[in-house]
C-alpha cells in the first residue's frame, strides 16, 4: 500500500515558553525549538505499522522552508521510506486552503492509496485534511483512532465520538484520514536514528515543479491573521502567583472558602 503522511513542523509546546513578538502579531520565534506536530507522529507510526503488516511504502511530505527538512528526517528515522519537501518562497503566508492546494499538487504526482494527516496541528486550525480530500474528490474521515485494512479497495476506520462513544466506518480507498492521538504508541526516534538518515537526499519541489498557480496560494491567501494575543484576564478569572507551594496553599484556601473542599 502506498501511504502518504502530511506532517508539519511546529514550535514544541512542551519545550517552549511562548511570548509575543514586538509587533504583537505572532510568537517571538527567536528562542523557540521546533519539532514534528504531535498528531503527525501518530499518523506516521500508523502508516509504518500498516506497511509492516501488509507491505508497501510510506512517504512523508511537508510544506515549509529549508528547516522543515528536519521533521522529514525525524519521520524517516522513525521508518518512513522517503520524504518530500514542498518549498517555495511563493508558499509563504498560505492559509489552510493554500496549504491544501500545495499538498494536492504534490499528491497528484503519484498514486497514493491512503493519505494521512494529523487531526490538527499545535498552532493550526485542523482544516487541511478535509480540504485536501475535497480537492482530490476522495472520501475523508476525521479524528480516526483505529484503522483496519480489509483489502486494497476498502478499509474500516474507527472514530472517537464526543462523549467517549466509538463509531466504525467502512471507507473506500483511496481516501484521506486525519489521525487522532492515542491510535498507537509512536516509537522513539533516537539521535542515532536521525544520523542514519542524515545523508539521504530529500527532493524539494517548488511551485513550478508542482505546476501550481501562485495566485491562490501564499500571499494570495483569503484568510489572513490580523492579530495574535494572550487574552486579558476576564471577570471571575484570577491568576494565583508565588512559588508552587504558595500557589497550592492559596488554591486550597479558595476551594475551602467556596465549599469545594471540606
Amino acid at each position: 500500500m502506498e501511504i502518504l503522511v502530511c506532517v508539519k513542523r511546529v514550535p514544541d509546546t512542551a519545550e517552549n515558553e511562548f511570548e509575543l513578538n514586538s509587533e504583537g502579531n505572532d510568537l517571538d520565534r527567536d528562542d523557540l525549538v521546533y519539532s514534528v506536530n504531535e498528531w503527525d507522529n501518530y499518523a506516521v507510526e500508523e502508516a509504518i505499522q500498516i506497511v509492516d503488516k501488509i507491505g508497501g511504502n510510506v512517504t512523508v511530505v511537508t510544506v515549509g522552508d529549508d528547516e522543515s527538512e528536519e521533521v522529514l528526517r525525524r519521520e524517516m528515522a522513525m521508518g518512513a521510506n522517503q520524504g518530500v519537501l514542498l518549498s517555495d518562497d511563493a508558499f509563504e503566508g498560505s492559509d489552510g486552503k493554500g496549504i491544501a492546494s500545495i499538498l494536492k499538487a504534490g499528491v497528484e504526482k503519484k498514486n497514493y492509496d491512503l493519505i494521512l494527516t494529523g487531526a490538527q496541528a499545535d498552532e493550526g486550525a485542523g482544516q487541511v485534511g478535509g480540504m485536501l480530500a475535497a480537492m482530490l474528490d476522495i472520501p475523508y474521515a476525521s479524528l480516526v483512532n483505529k484503522i483496519d485494512i480489509k483489502d486494497d479497495k476498502k478499509i474500516v476506520v474507527g472514530r472517537e465520538i464526543e462523549g467517549g462513544n466509538q463509531e466504525m466506518n467502512e471507507i473506500e480507498l483511496p481516501c484521506v484520514l486525519s489521525i487522532q492521538t492515542g491510535i498507537n504508541e509512536p516509537r522513539y526516534v533516537g539521535i542515532r536514528g536521525i544520523r542514519k538518515v542524515a545523508k539521504v537526499k530529500i527532493p524539494v519541489k517548488s511551485a513550478s515543479d508542482l505546476g501550481l498557480d501562485t495566485a491562490s496560494i501564499g500571499s494570495g491567501a483569503k484568510v489572513k491573521r490580523v492579530d495574535y494575543f494572550v487574552p486579558d484576564i476576564g471577570d471571575g478569572a484570577e491568576m494565583l502567583e508565588g512559588s508552587t507551594d504558595e500557589i497550592i496553599e492559596k488554591l486550597i484556601e479558595k476551594l475551602k472558602a467556596k465549599g469545594g473542599l471540606s
Binding site: 517552549n16 522513539y188 539521535i191
Partner: protein, 689 residues
C-alpha cells in the same frame, strides 16, 4: 599396610581386573565432561567481544578476596557459613579425590610430598573437611527443603521450583563424603584386625565414626564395603562433574573465571561494544543487546555462574515494591535460553529477539541501576551493564515508553529533561534574599574561577531543589572557595541518559559539557548531585579534572578550620543519614556525609539497618522520575518506613533525587507530621557560623 585388596588389584567376578574399571570410569567421565564443556562454550564463542585481559594483578587480588576469601558470603550469615564450609571442604578434598582416582589404578599411590608429616596433617584435615561438608549439606538441605527462605521461591511466572536440583546436588555431595569416609573407615578396621593397630583417623570425623561402627564386621564384608564405596565414590565423582555444567552448580567451575573477569571500575558503564571507539559508533549496524549473542561472552559467563542464591532479588528495591523485575531471573531466564538454544546435542537454534522470548519491556525499565544486586552477588555477577545494553537495544528499536520520550526529546532540544529554556538554567541565583548574601559567578565570556560548581538539571530547575544549589553556593562561599557556574551553557550531565540506553544523546551532552568545562579554565569541579558526580568522575573520561562531592568539601573545610558549625539547632530531633546509591555503593563515599553530620555538636544521629553498601534505593534519579512503573508501593515509602522504624525524625540525604523521592514518600506514607527530609547541604548551611 592394609589387608584388604585395593580397587587396582581387585578382580570382579574373579577375573575382571579393578584397574580396568578404574580407568574406564574416569575416561568416560572426563570424555563426557569435555564434550559438555565444548557445547557450553559454543555460545561464548559466538558472543560479543569483552574487554582485553588487563590489570591482572588487581584481578588476582580480587580472586583472593571474592573467590578464595568468599568475601560476600557472610552477608547472609547461615547460608554464608554453610557455603564457606562446603567451599573450603571441596578445596581440601579435591586433592584426596584426585589421588583416589589414581589409587584405583595404582594401589598405594601417594600424592608427591604427602608421604610424611604433611600427608598426616592433610589426612587429619580432610577427615574433618569431609565431616564438616557432610554436616553443612544436611544443614543446607534443611534450609532449602524445610525452612525455605523467601529468596529461594520461584514465582509461578518464572517457572518451576528449583529445590529438587539443590537437594539432588546436596545428595551427591553427601554420597561423596560418606563413601570416602566408609572407604577409609573399612580400611582402618581391616588394618586393625590384621595388625592390631591402624591408621590414625581424626576423632569424631565421619571416617572415625564409621570405623567404630564397623569394628565387628567380618573381613569379607569389609572387603565388599571397601571396593563398593570406592566405586560409588568414583562414579558419583564423575557423574557430579558432568552434572555441574547442566545447571546452577556450574558456578563450581565457572565462578573463579567469573570473578577474574569482574568489572574493576565501579560506577562506570561498559562501552556499546568493546573495541569500537565513540567515533566509530555511527558505523555500527545495530546497538545494544537485542538477541542472546549480543551479550558479551563475559555476560554469558555471568549467566553460567549464577548459583541461584536469590540474594540479588532479595536486595533489589524494584523487586521489593512489586515491579516486574527480579535480577535473579534476568540471569536464570537467559541461562535457560542458552541451554535451550545451545542444547547438548543436535543443532543450535537461531536466537530470537529477546523481547519475543524472555524479557518484557517493563522489566528492563524497572531497574534504577542502584547496584544493590551487584553489591550482593557472591560470584560477582554484574547487572547494570546488561540492563543498559538491553536498553540500548530497545532505544535502537524505538521501544521507549511515551513517559520517557518527552524528557529525552527535551534533553535533545534544550539540554534538560523539563524542556525549560536554556537561559533559565541559572535563574536560581536570582532569588532576591539569596542574591543579597551570595553572588554566584557565571563562567561565561572569559570569566573563570578555581572551582566549577556543576549544578545539573534538577537542582537548576526544580523550585524546591534549587534550595540545594543555594545552600551549596553559600557553603562554598563561606569556605572561601573561588567558584562559578556554567549557567545556560551547562547541559544535563546525561547520567541517566546513558543508563537509559540513549548512548548518542549522552555522547552529545557529554561533549558539549566537556567543551564548556574546559573552556571555563577551572581547576576542579564540585557538585552536590551524586549522579552528576558519578557522570563527571566515571563517564566523562576525557575531562580529567578532579571532581568532588560537596560532602567531601564540607569535611575537608571543617577539618582545615575554614568552616565552623553551630551546635545542633534542633538537638531534640533524631537524624538518620540515607546513603544515595551513586554516592555510596557506586563511589564508596560513606564516611564524609556522616562525618559532616557528626561535626554538628549535639546532633543525635542513628543508623538504619540497611545502610552504607546495603542502602535501599529511594526510587531512582534522573529519567527514572519520569518513568511510570507498575508497582505496589513506592521504594521511597519503604525507605521512609525503615527510617521511621529506626526512630528517626529527620532523614538527611545528599542527593537531590533522594530528597524529591523521600519528601514525596513522607507525604504518601502520611508521616508529614512526624518526619521530614533534608539535604546535607541544607542542614550544614543552616548550621554555618
Amino acid at each position: 599396610m592394609t589387608s584388604l585388596i585395593g580397587p587396582a588389584n581387585f578382580k570382579f567376578f574373579g577375573f575382571l581386573p579393578g584397574f580396568f574399571l578404574s580407568i574406564l570410569i574416569p575416561v568416560i567421565g572426563i570424555g563426557i565432561f569435555i564434550y559438555i564443556m565444548a557445547r557450553r562454550l559454543a555460545p561464548l564463542v559466538r558472543a560479543a567481544p569483552n574487554h582485553k585481559i588487563d590489570r591482572v594483578f588487581e584481578r588476582i587480588i580480587n580472586l583472593f578476596k571474592l573467590w578464595l576469601g568468599q568475601k560476600k558470603q557472610p552477608r547472609y550469615k547461615t547460608a554464608g557459613i554453610i557455603h564457606i564450609i562446603i567451599f573450603f571442604g571441596f578445596l581440601i578434598l579435591s586433592i584426596r579425590s584426585i589421588s583416589l582416582v589414581i589409587i584405583g589404578v595404582s594401589q598405594g599411590f601417594v600424592v608427591p610430598g604427602f608421604d610424611g608429616i604433611i600427608g598426616d596433617i592433610y589426612n587429619f584435615l580432610k577427615d574433618y573437611a569431609a565431616t564438616a561438608v557432610f554436616i553443612a549439606c544436611i544443614a543446607a538441605a534443611i534450609i532449602r527443603g524445610i525452612i525455605k527462605p523467601e529468596r529461594y521461591k520461584v514465582p509461578a511466572k518464572y517457572g518451576k521450583d528449583h529445590t529438587s536440583e539443590a537437594i539432588l546436588v546436596l545428595g551427591f555431595i553427601s554420597i561423596l563424603m560418606i563413601s570416602e569416609s566408609l572407604f577409609e573407615g573399612s580400611n582402618a578396621v581391616a588394618e586393625f584386625h590384621s595388625t592390631g593397630h591402624s591408621e590414625f583417623l581424626a576423632p569424631l570425623s565421619l571416617g572415625w565414626i564409621f570405623k567404630s561402627l564397623l569394628m565387628d564386621v567380618s573381613q569379607s564384608y569389609l572387603q565388599g564395603i571397601y571396593i563398593g564405596m570406592y566405586y560409588l565414590h568414583d562414579i558419583t565423582f564423575f557423574f557430579f562433574l558432568c552434572f555441574l555444567p547442566l545447571g546452577k552448580h556450574f558456578h563450581v567451575i565457572t565462578s573463579i573465571f567469573n570473578v577474574f573477569f569482574i568489572k574493576l571500575d565501579k560506577g562506570t558503564v561498559k562501552p556499546v561494544r568493546y573495541g569500537v571507539s565513540n567515533e566509530e559508533l555511527d558505523d555500527l549496524e545495530s546497538f545494544g543487546v537485542k538477541k542472546l549473542e549480543d551479550f558479551t561472552w563475559k555476560q554469558m559467563l555471568n549467566f553460567y555462574s549464577c548459583a541461584d542464591c536469590g540474594r540479588c532479588s532479595d536486595k533489589c528495591p524494584a523487586n521489593a515494591v512489586g515491579r516486574p523485575l527480579s535480577p535473579r531471573f534476568i540471569t536464570i531466564k537467559a541461562r535457560d535460553l542458552i541451554f535451550e538454544n545451545y542444547p547438548l546435542s543436535g543443532k543450535i537454534y537461531k536466537s530470537k529477539f529477546l523481547f519475543d522470548d524472555i524479557y518484557s519491556e517493563d522489566e528492563i525499565w524497572s531497574c534504577t541501576t542502584c547496584g544493590a544486586c551487584e553489591e550482593e552477588c557472591p560470584v560477582g555477577n554484574e547487572y547494570i551493564d546488561k540492563i543498559v545494553d538491553i536498553r540500548r537495544g530497545m532505544v535502537d528499536e524505538g521501544m521507549v515508553p511515551q513517559s520517557l520520550q518527552k524528557p529525552l526529546k527535551a534533553l535533545e532540544k534544550r539540554g534538560n529533561p523539563y524542556g525549560t529554556m536554556e537561559k533559565k538554567r541559572a535563574d536560581w541565583i536570582k532569588d532576591k534574599e539569596f542574591a543579597e548574601q551570595c553572588n554566584v559567578k557565571i563562567l561565561e565570556k572569559g570569566k573563570t574561577a578555581d572551582t566549577l560548581y556543576f549544578v545539573d538539571s534538577i537542582t537548576s530547575f526544580d523550585d524546591n531543589i534549587q534550595n540545594i544549589a543555594r545552600s551549596t553556593s553559600k557553603i562554598l562561599t563561606r569556605a572561601g572557595i573561588d567558584f562559578g557556574i556554567l549557567g545556560k551553557k551547562e547541559k544535563d550531565s546525561g547520567h541517566e541518559v546513558l543508563r537509559f540506553g540513549e548512548e548518542m544523546l549522552f555522547q552529545d551532552l557529554k561533549e558539549q559539557n566537556i567543551e564548556e568545562i574546559l573552556e571555563s579554565n577551572v581547576k576542579n569541579i564540585v557538585t552536590a548531585d551524586p549522579h552528576a558526580y558519578n557522570a563527571l568522575k566515571n563517564d566523562y573520561k576525557d575531562c580529567s579534572l578532579p571532581v568532588k562531592h560537596i560532602s567531601q568539601v564540607i569535611v575537608e573545610k571543617i577539618k582545615s578550620g575554614a568552616l565552623t558549625l553551630k551546635p545542633a539547632l534542633e538537638p531534640d530531633k533524631i537524624y538518620v543519614y540515607h546513603d544515595p546509591c551513586y554516592l555510596g555503593r557506586h563511589n564508596e563515599i560513606y564516611e564524609d556525609p556522616r562525618q559532616a553530620l557528626d561535626a554538628i555538636k549535639g546532633l543525635k544521629r542513628i543508623e538504619m539497618k540497611k545502610s552504607r553498601d546495603d542502602s535501599f534505593c529511594c526510587g531512582g534519579g534522573g529519567l527514572m522520575l519520569f518513568y511510570e512503573p507498575e508497582e505496589d508501593t513506592r521504594m521511597g515509602v519503604l525507605r521512609v518506613n525503615m527510617a521511621h522504624e529506626a526512630g528517626a525524625d529527620v532523614i538527611v540525604t545528599a542527593c537531590p533525587f533522594c530528597l524529591v523521592n523521600i519528601q514525596d514518600a513522607i507525604k504518601v506514607a502520611g508521616k508529614e507530621e512526624e518526619m521530614e527530609a533534608l539535604d546535607l547541604a541544607q542542614l550544614i548551611e543552616q548550621h554555618l557560623i
